[in-house]
């Protein structure tokens, strides 16, 4: 029954192409003068077509315990995005918010993954800019 079902199901799915995911094994290090957990944002460097073309579209986010080494697997949806960048900010006071008014400035940084597209990439992220998002670095 399964042998009969599979081609039938396949035929029903033949009209529309699959969604494509580009898998990236990443490793890297975060360099900072401060201490605290770091939130990393993995971003399409460019995203969108024509009038809607813009920069820095979030793919995924990750928390690491401190400015240290990190590694993992990133699934990058293929479509209108290109390039890969990593943004990070350090949560100095542990409140989960970046530079909440009235708190100490918390460092952030942005790095472009120069050897992307590649299934294995390395990145070094230096946190040296206070209270900025990726758009401001």
């Amino acid at each position: 029954m399964k042998r009969l079902a599979f081609p039938f199901l396949l035929a029903c799915s033949a009209c529309q192409g699959p969604d494509v995911i580009y898998e990236v094994e990443y490793s890297g290090s975060v360099i900072s003068d401060q201490t605290g957990a770091v939130e990393l944002w993995f971003l399409h460097s460019q995203w969108g077509d024509d009038t809607l073309e813009t920069s820095y579209m979030v793919i995924d986010t990750l928390w690491i315990d401190d400015a240290s080494t990190f590694s993992g697997l990133l699934e990058v949806p293929q479509g209108t995005g290109s390039g890969l960048s990593v943004y990070g900010w350090q949560d100095l006071n542990g409140d989960g918010e970046h530079c909440r008014p009235g708190t100490e400035p918390e460092l952030a940084g942005l790095a472009s993954v120069t050897d992307y597209p590649n299934h294995v990439v390395e990145v070094e992220l230096i946190l040296d800019t206070a209270c900025e998002g990726p758009e401001g670095i």
Partner: protein, 198 residues
Amino acid sequence: MISVALLSLVSLAQADESSWSSPAPGQFQIEAYSGFPWHGVKASYAPNSEVAVTGHIETARFRRLEYRLGIQKPWSLSERWSVLTSLSVGGVNQWGAVPRQGAQVGAELTISRSGRVEPYFSLHDRELFAIEAVETQSAEGDETTWSSTQYYSRGGSLGVRVPLREQICLDIALQGGFVDSSFAIPSFKLGLSWRTDS
């Protein structure tokens, strides 16, 4: 205005009171219909008095295509009243902002009363097993995986068949319910059926 139109249709109705819900043994029947939002063709053939086989293809706004093969069995409740049970298997392809595709199985129950006009009421349940394919490109190579999401399309129709000639019948119906587990705006159809001699 509507009552005038209905009376006009009744006046056109022929005296032939054989049911149009399913072909008679040895009879081939085909219906073409249009409306909002469905347009389609359905063909039926009854090899015997027990069952009929059906083929059905329809489209909604030319962005969703449904196709199915089925079998149906008529049950006689009385001289005039009958019930038709149907099972079908087929597929769906939908394009646009909400793409969808997959296999669909369905069941339908119709109760009708034969006569100069044939009112009918039907309930249907179709279960779509939508397939999503994901191609993952990794260092080890490319791999495609499939997952499935189930959607239901349930609802009912209230209609009337008006035999215009022995071999031609008009079908008008209103339909409502759910499509792909979401509310569907009520629809209507106007169809014309033709059948061979019984």
